[in-house]
Symmetry: C3
Subunit: 139 residues, 3 copies
């Protein structure tokens, strides 16, 4: 396990725009507050969602699209630099009318309404290729 | 996307009372620490739960009640003023014995045990009616 | 509801080791930063997972093992002392390739990749036996 102590530079509440992309909105927030490292929590609802599952054997992401309105019951993620760009690594738990939960890596989704808490750090986080997992990891 | 930088006034750990209502307990915590704006995370278990799903077309909440013991695997939410009262907007992911997950907007649920982390902010958050979604949103 | 205001001693980002145990890694982080009380959030993926559900009537944990790769869509927990040892009370929402979500108390799981945010507090948290629930609770 590798870790780093971080110093906060600011903390923010945000409301996402209806019709925009969930992940892009969070990346826009990172741009607005000019941070290269942050942790966030969010909740709300989307009009659709593209969820990824990482195939640990084939080392490739598999995509599933849910073209239906879903609650965002929980969303956890972080901002780091990936090849020089700010990337919001975003995981989410979604739910259907029945209460059935769906979850995974949220590549994108059309915002219905979204509420975000983001905590920005002084030390930039950079993702680098990891040989074991073939993922881009930080620290 | 709208956002606001926030200043923390205090942070708190809380243990919820067995038999009380999950959301009311969090609202009581907001009252105890006298805050009109906060972000929280929680976990624990409930004896039952009422979960809402927002019908984005009809613009009405649909309710599902689970009258059974459930783990609270993740709970994310925030405190804001709604028509002058403190309201805990609460989303939760619940689970059954099989591991099956259920999720959505948690209107209420009877606490079995609950552990909460709440972070209170100086600037009050106020919910106002939003024409596009017919929801009460802040910022 | 019982609560306590807490003072932060430090906040940390951590990357968990591939092949290690998810919960033990978080407990190692608590050891590294020498804290007896913390709140954490995490995300990533596991190679397998053992999830517990608390039977509120029999007052015993029931275990379910998922011997398959899963995304960790959301993970919420806290560090406290349990019989003198640091214990990471860990809840998680996991997901399968189809997007199906599983959730509960995460006893353990083999890390594929894990990203953690941990916030350490000055005041130690101690778990003590609670007669009503037969659980070890703090505050």
């Amino acid at each position: 396990m590798n870790y780093r102590e971080v110093e906060v530079t600011g903390e923010y509440m945000a409301s996402l725009d209806n019709g925009a992309d969930w992940r892009e909105e969070i990346e826009s927030l990172a741009d607005e507050v000019d941070t290269d490292a942050a942790w966030f929590n969010a909740m709300g609802a989307v009009q659709d969602a593209e969820v990824w599952f990482y195939d640990q054997e084939d080392q490739e992401y598999q995509s599933v699209t849910f073209d239906e309105p879903l609650e965002v019951a929980a969303c956890v993620g972080n901002i780091a630099l990936l090849e020089g760009d700010r990337f919001a690594h975003t995981h989410a738990v979604l739910s259907r009318r029945s209460g059935q939960a769906l979850a995974g890596h949220l590549n994108g989704g059309t915002v219905f309404a979204g509420e975000v808490y983001l905590r920005a750090f002084e030390e930039p986080l950079e993702r680098e290729h990891d040989e074991v997992t073939d993922l881009d990891l930080w620290l």
